[in-house]
């Protein structure tokens, strides 16, 4: 599994051995393991090479994602592989609702790789309402989920929020494909509001405006 391989390259060896054991899903220990991944695996970012390796397998991934987040994503994939499909949405919902910051980031990064990912659209839309910038970027940037599954209004809001909070718009996956006249109009409106206020327009706005 590519995620576990990425972890193995940056996490301490005893942590990697621990993760290998935990990837055999056990309902009784899953939640404790999911939280403990931070202490076991550390937070070292996996880096560009492994991020590109994951993207080549159809899972765009942030190079800033830590070993802990990759390990948690692998744990979630193992869990859904063992659980009845009817249990998938409640599990993901619970992990997002009861997660600390990096736990939520891990779940958001791996949503696109879960079976029948369209089932998680509402959870993903709710997640990008977070004002914790790293949580927002976990769903908005280097993540295939919004472009693949968000309806236009939600995708447009996500792009606009990325501009607001200064998240790297260029890292929104498939932005060009999802840019519509309505999104361009919204970004123009935001630029106009900033110009009227005498404030600089973020450089990233040009990524959408030039698409017209």
């Amino acid at each position: 599994m590519e995620l576990a391989d990425a972890v193995a390259r940056v996490a301490p060896p005893d942590g990697v051995a621990w993760l290998t054991q935990q990837l055999v899903f056990d309902r009784a220990t899953f939640h404790a393991a999911f939280s403990a991944a931070g202490r076991r695996l550390g937070k070292a970012p996996i880096g560009e090479v492994d991020a590109q390796r994951l993207a080549a397998r159809g899972l765009p991934w942030s190079p800033a994602a830590g070993a802990d987040e990759c390990g948690r994503a692998a744990l979630l994939l193992a869990a859904v592989g063992s659980l009845d499909p009817a249990d998938h949405v409640p599990l993901v919902s619970d992990l997002l609702r009861r997660g600390e910051v990096r736990e939520r980031q891990a779940v958001l990064r791996v949503l696109a790789a879960l079976p029948q990912p369209e089932r998680f659209v509402e959870l993903a839309i709710d997640a990008f309402r977070s004002n914790v910038t790293t949580v927002f970027e976990a769903i908005a940037c280097d993540n295939a989920f919004p472009a693949r599954h968000f309806p236009d209004p939600a995708f447009n809001q996500l792009v606009l929020k990325a501009l607001f909070v200064g998240a790297p718009v260029a890292r929104i996956v498939d932005l060009d494909r999802r840019t519509t006249p309505e999104l361009v109009r919204m970004v123009d409106g935001y630029a106009s509001e900033l110009i009227a206020a005498g404030r600089p327009v973020p450089a990233d706005a040009s990524l959408i405006r030039r698409a017209r």
């Binding site: 939280s35 202490r39 004002n131 607001f164 200064g166």
Partner: protein, 293 residues
């Protein structure tokens, strides 16, 4: 000199406080779960509070370069609400496993009731099971007797004293606390609990071993800069910088590192501040120029 406030309720404080704390050298805080000023009436309110401690508040602190850790507990006062106790205790195991949770606390006594005895002992057991230290609050009323009863309970259940902070000590309780082998916290308050000159005298008498100083700042009249102010008072009284670094930095790190959730090496590195992303409506920075360091 970097400073650590090992007991402060940042959820009740403003961004001005965070800014002033960072400017005064505070690089890390522990925020214990506690009473929010009026009784909670739903278990769900506790859960959202716990989530705030491991989520939004940690993020807010990070925007000012301050590392934020927390402790999770049912506080002594609300341990008397029978409708809440079992529900909150049942929530705790999930949250005690989270990263950045460095102890079970604040637990202990308020009125010293039988219900408080039960919640106190049950939570020391949770601390043992989750391999966490315990942060114990001494009652404000009948404090000396409360301290005796606290230390007796810790001893009776066999909880290791070296993994225990007894907090809000005074001249009358400190000798007992130190004799028990527990760590001794002191909350420096504008009007109650402990003040700077008295704290100077205690350190001159008892030394720095297992001594902690905090602001315990919350939603009441309190001062989030009491840690740097007490450090200054000690320095003015001729206490050496080596001793001060021990009390205000190394002691809290040594204690909370016992949780395995606080990395002393990581704490020595400054936390990079990046407020660029924070000019949106509900976030901490509203239309101001972001700081990036």
């Amino acid at each position: 000199m970097k400073l650590f406030d090992p007991h402060i309720h940042m959820t009740s404080r403003t961004t001005d406080d965070y800014e002033a704390m960072a400017a005064a050298g505070i690089a890390a805080v522990v925020e214990p779960a506690f009473w929010v000023g009026q009784p909670r009436t739903h278990v769900g309110t506790f859960e959202d509070y716990f989530l705030g401690l491991v989520g939004w508040e940690r993020f807010r602190a990070s925007q000012f370069g301050i590392r934020h850790y927390c402790t999770i507990a049912l506080n002594p006062r609300e341990a008397n609400d029978a409708a809440l106790v079992s529900g909150v205790l049942a929530l705790m195991p999930r949250y005690l496993e989270k990263d950045g949770v460095v102890a079970v606390g604040e637990i202990g006594y308020d009125d010293m009731t039988a219900a408080e005895d039960n919640a106190f002992a049950a939570q020391l057991e949770l601390a043992r099971v989750h391999q966490l230290p315990a942060l114990i609050h001494l009652p404000h009323r009948d404090k000396k007797r409360g301290c005796e009863r606290t230390l007796a309970l810790v001893r009776d259940v066999g909880f290791p004293p070296e993994r225990t902070i007894v907090d809000h000590n005074t001249e009358e309780t400190l000798p007992m606390t130190l004799d028990s082998g527990c760590w001794a916290g002191h909350s420096i308050y504008p009007r109650t609990k402990m003040d700077e000159p008295r704290m100077v005298a205690l350190v001159q008498h008892y030394g720095a071993d297992r001594i902690l100083v905090n602001s315990a700042a919350d939603w009441g009249v309190s001062d989030p800069l009491k840690v740097p102010k007490t450090r200054d008072a000690m320095r003015a009284a001729g206490i050496s910088d080596v001793t001060l670094a021990r009390i205000f930095w190394r002691n809290p790190i040594e204690f909370f590192a016992q949780s395995g959730r606080l990395d002393p090496v990581e704490l020595e590195q400054p936390l990079a501040i990046d407020q660029r992303q924070l000019h949106e409506g509900n976030s901490v920075l509203r239309g101001q120029t972001p700081q990036v360091s």
